[in-house]
Each structure stands twice: as structure tokens, then as C-alpha cells.
């Protein structure tokens, strides 16, 4: 079984967010970029499945500009076998991303597609579910545990009320949550090895899928700042204040 893992290059989770002065978006130049943390968990899970003999090959895919090769190389250094970059110089929205992944899945026939449950830039939480719908495959979203059985996988999902476990027939789409695993550190020899691995660049036009935007971002603004508050001496003073503002 092949595993396809979709990854996205995003502003690093520790970087501070600056809004462009013309209000058209968030500044991404001269900002540290890295692999979306949820996708890193997806790559790690795929590699662990292969290491346990549950998969023959881990293919990572991203849809972005040339610079995204760096992010794909990171996944290769973690242990993925080969990479595909669907090259696009314009923003790819979730439905378009799902259509591109469907097209690649039809070429590669993976038994499992893993994705992070959401990207920490646009926070959409959509692509995995959309892809599963387009392929008519089962979906296991927000996964914190996966267990393989014959012809299927049990996926434990983090839901609002607690945990829910589903059985999915393969092939399936699984989106990863934070507690599924802890991604490994990358060693120097593996960074060197990753340079030798195959990274194929496919122009987005060659896939002949409809990637037209369905949403237009009119502008981006900073959220309202909270007024800074007061430091209190002790619990008694706190209770007095809370009673004064009538919240207790």
C-alpha cells in the first residue's frame, strides 16, 4: 500500500503575524516558513506505518510555488520516499486543493491519504473532508489514534464530547490531530540523503482541474486589541473586583 501525504508550507507557528499595510493579506516574505504542524504529524504517522510494514511507500505532495521544494525536502528528510510539487503561483483554495489531490490520487492509487486536520494559516479545516467526498472514500477526521486491521483502519477521533472510534474501509482519508504522535527530529545524514530522493514538479495546468477561486478575500485586518488590565494583590481583592463587575 502506498500512502499519500498532503503538506502545506505556512508561516511558522512561532512567528508573529503582521498584516500587510495595504490590508490585502498577511505578510509572508521575510518571515520564517515551515511545514504546517498538523501535516508534520501526518508525515510522521505515514512513516511509522511504513516502518511497521504497513505500507510500501510514502509520497508527499504540496501545491505551491517553487520555494515549497524546501518543505517537501523536509518531509523527505523525515523519511518520506518521494515528493510531488504541483506548481502554482496563485493561491489554491480548499476545494481546488481537494480536486488536485483527487487527480494525483487517481494516478498514484494510494491505500491511504493523510492530511493535517487544518492549516494554521487559513484555519479552514476542509481539504481532507472535501477530498474524501470527491473520491467517495470514507473519512476519519481529527485522528488521535490509528490501528490497522485487514481491509480497514480504526480511527479514534477527537470530538467535542470526548473520543469517538470509527472503522474505515480502505482506501480512506484520515486527517490528523495533535495527539496522534510526536514528529521526529531530523538528523543531518537524513537531510543529505533527502537531497538524492525524487522530487517531481508538475505544472498545475497539466492536471486539467478547475482551480478557479470560489472566494475572494476583500481585505484582512488586525483583530481588536483588549485593553490591558490591572494587577491585583491577592485572592480577596480579586473576588471584590469580580463581584463589582457582577460576573460572580
Amino acid at each position: 500500500m502506498k500512502i499519500l501525504v498532503a503538506i502545506k508550507r505556512v508561516v511558522d507557528y512561532k512567528a508573529s503575524i503582521r498584516i500587510k499595510s495595504d490590508g490585502c493579506g498577511v505578510e509572508t516574505s521575510n518571515v520564517k516558513m515551515s511545514m504546517n504542524p498538523f501535516d508534520e504529524i501526518a508525515v510522521e504517522e505515514a512513516i511509522r506505518i511504513r516502518e511497521k510494514g504497513g505500507a510500501s511507500e510514502v509520497i508527499v505532495i504540496s501545491m505551491s510555488g517553487e520555494v515549497c521544494q524546501e518543505t517537501l525536502r523536509t518531509a523527505l528528510a523525515m523519511g518520506a520516499d518521494r515528493a510531488i510539487l504541483v506548481k502554482s503561483d496563485t493561491e489554491i483554495q480548499p476545494l481546488a486543493a481537494a480536486k488536485i489531490l483527487k487527480s494525483i490520487a487517481e494516478q498514484e492509487s494510494p491505500g491511504l491519504i493523510l492530511l493535517g486536520k487544518q492549516a494554521i494559516d487559513t484555519d479552514n479545516n476542509q481539504v481532507g473532508q472535501m477530498l474524501a467526498g470527491l473520491l467517495n472514500w470514507p473519512q476519519g477526521t481529527f485522528a488521535s489514534k490509528m490501528e490497522f486491521h485487514e481491509n480497514g483502519v480504526s480511527v479514534t477521533r477527537e470530538v467535542d464530547g470526548g473520543l469517538e472510534t470509527l472503522f474505515l474501509k480502505l482506501p480512506a482519508v484520515v486527517t490528523t490531530d495533535l495527539r496522534l504522535n510526536e514528529p521526529r527530529y531530523i538528523s543531518l545524514p537524513n537531510i543529505v540523503k533527502a537531497k538524492q530522493k525524487t522530487l517531481v514538479i508538475i505544472p498545475i495546468e497539466s492536471l486539467e482541474v478547475d482551480v478557479s477561486p470560489r472566494q475572494q478575500t476583500l481585505h484582512v485586518t488586525a483583530p481588536l486589541k483588549r485593553r490591558s488590565g490591572v494587577r491585583l494583590q491577592d485572592a480577596a481583592e480579586l473576588v471584590t473586583h469580580l463581584k463589582k463587575v457582577q460576573v460572580i
Binding site: 480548499p94 494554521i120 477526521t141 473520543l163 478575500t217 491577592d234
Partner: protein
């Protein structure tokens, strides 16, 4: 404007996310239908009829929908929803699981986590963990939205049913997935999404046992108990306690953060609370930048004092 709302429920009661979504829908139009997908869910349907803003309650009651799995539920949403101009649901794990799949089946985009309706096709939504707000215009014929429940008040239920009940006989089997089991946290305290007061603990609590200190205060205040990601990862609290960008987004009247440093991911989930209290031994902790009231000191000393003061 014909609006369809996918209701969230557990076959027994209608979840409050639905009430908040109804309020968002009333800003778009008055022809609001509610879709209930479940099994043995007559009680939910009856309750839904009490929502004053809802015109029709559509009920698909069949054993194939017992666990509301995305594979057939999304297919039904797409089938019923194609006659509507809007399809809405709450941006909870339930809505986030089903609605994007239904959107793909209808070949339309979805606007996630709507916090404001500006015009019938333009919406505000947070991006980058709430560090930026995007104004987004939908270009599709059918507009699909998931609603951030904290941004809209809950619609009220009346004494008498106003909506008409209509059965949907469409039965879509699901051969792709099946429900195995669930482990839901049982608690007598209010749910995080609905609590007026929340007391949350972070890594500073140091152990699962120490969470009892919070629970005692929570019970005294009628509050819910939450946790930061760090506390959940460390095993101090179950996953459904998590407040933050990737956990629950809450906006109670009072949020008390105990031993929480205030990582961006956590702030994204609680910074719209009306009053924020921070208790932390690090005076430089970012949580103090959003707190209305801050107490710097050892939480193991402050919490018992707070308990005493509240008992006075």
C-alpha cells in the same frame, strides 16, 4: 433567501450550537429550514419545532443515520441542500466533519468559522489563530457557512411549536465506514461551549490530581473546567477540555486562566471572553496581556485562598 441549517444533536437533545446558528441565519433571511439527520430522534425534532425563527423541520430518521457519520450524512445534506441558497451549521467538530464533504459534493466552497455577516455574500472569519480577520466574499451560487457559535447569541425556544415537521424518506446507506465506540466525558458541570464561567488549567497545575483544585472552585461558581493544550498533552485533562485554536473556542462572561502562559494557540480560543482573570507565577507570561485582572504568584497558594474567599 432559502436557508438550510444542519442541526447538531445526539438523538436526544438539540445541541446549543444549533441555536447559535439559527441566530446567524436570521441575519440572512427568514425562510429557515432545519435538517435533522439521526435515528430515533423524534424528541429532537419536537424540540426543534420550538425554535421561533424556524419555518420547517426536516427529519431524516433512520437507523442508517444513527451515528451521523459523514459518508452518508454529507450525501443527504448535499441532496436536500441543493434547493437552497444557504447551507449553515455550527463550526463544531460535528459541523466541521460533515459540511466540507457536503460542499465538495455540491461543488461549492465553504466559508469556515463565520464571525460576522456583512452582506448576503460577504463574511468575516478569523485566520492565523485569530491574529487576523479576513473579509471574504463567496462567489458560489449556494453559500455554505460554518458559524462560530460564540459570535452569535443563541436563538430562543418558545413554549409552543411554530415550525412544521416534515419527514424525509431518503435513505442513504453507508458501506464505507461504521461506528465502533465512543468515550464521552461525563460531567455534571456545564459544557464548555455554554458555560457562563470557565476555569482553565495549564501546565502550571503540574498533575491531573491538581485539577481537582480547579474543579472545587468550578463547582462553587457553577463553572465549566477547561485546559490548555499543554495540560491535555501532559495527560492532566481529557482532550475535550482543550480550549484554543484547535480545541474549543469559548467566550464566557468570566474566564479564569490558572497556570496558563498564554500561547497564541490558547489565546485564539478564549480572548473574546468578557472578563479574563490570569493567575500565574511568571509576571511576564503573555496571558497577562489579555487579562482584565492578574494575580502573580504561586497558584497552589492562591487557589485555596480563592476558594476561602468564595466560601465567605
Amino acid at each position: 433567501m432559502k436557508i438550510l441549517i444542519l442541526a447538531e444533536h445526539d438523538n436526544q437533545v438539540l445541541k446549543r450550537s444549533t441555536h447559535h446558528t439559527v441566530t446567524a441565519a436570521t441575519e440572512l433571511g427568514s425562510e429557515i429550514d432545519l435538517l435533522i439527520i439521526g435515528s430515533d430522534c423524534e424528541k429532537v425534532a419536537k424540540q426543534a419545532c420550538l425554535l421561533q425563527a424556524v419555518k420547517r423541520v426536516l427529519v431524516a430518521d433512520d437507523t442508517v443515520y444513527a451515528h451521523q457519520l459523514a459518508e452518508n450524512a454529507a450525501a443527504l445534506v448535499a441532496e436536500v441542500g441543493k434547493q437552497y441558497e444557504y447551507i449553515l451549521t455550527g463550526a463544531t467538530t460535528f459541523g466541521k466533519n460533515i459540511l466540507p464533504r457536503a460542499a465538495a459534493l455540491l461543488d461549492v466552497a465553504l466559508v469556515s468559522d463565520v464571525i460576522k455577516i456583512i452582506t448576503p455574500d460577504t463574511f468575516e472569519r478569523p485566520i492565523y489563530a485569530g491574529n487576523a480577520i479576513a473579509t471574504v466574499k463567496s462567489l458560489d451560487g449556494i453559500k455554505m457557512l460554518s458559524i462560530r457559535t460564540t459570535a452569535f447569541p443563541a436563538a430562543k425556544e418558545g413554549e409552543q411549536a411554530v415550525a412544521t415537521l416534515q419527514k424525509i424518506s431518503e435513505r442513504i446507506p453507508n458501506a464505507l465506514s461504521r461506528f465502533e465506540y465512543q468515550a464521552l466525558t461525563q460531567s455534571m458541570r456545564p459544557e464548555l461551549n455554554e458555560a457562563r464561567i470557565i476555569i482553565s488549567g495549564g501546565r502550571g497545575l503540574k498533575s491531573a490530581e491538581n485539577f481537582h483544585l480547579l474543579e472545587k472552585i468550578a463547582d462553587r461558581l457553577g463553572a465549566a473546567v477547561g485546559a490548555s493544550r499543554a495540560a491535555v498533552d501532559a495527560g492532566f485533562a481529557p482532550n475535550d477540555y482543550q480550549v484554543g485554536q484547535t480545541g474549543k473556542v469559548v467566550a464566557p462572561d468570566l474566564y479564569i486562566a490558572v497556570g496558563i502562559s498564554g500561547a497564541i494557540q490558547h489565546l485564539a480560543g478564549m480572548k473574546d471572553s468578557k472578563i479574563i482573570v490570569a493567575i500565574n507565577n511568571d509576571p511576564e507570561a503573555p496571558i497577562f496581556q489579555v487579562a482584565d485582572f492578574g494575580l502573580v504568584g504561586d497558584l497552589f497558594k492562591i487557589l485555596p485562598e480563592l476558594q476561602n474567599e468564595l466560601d465567605k
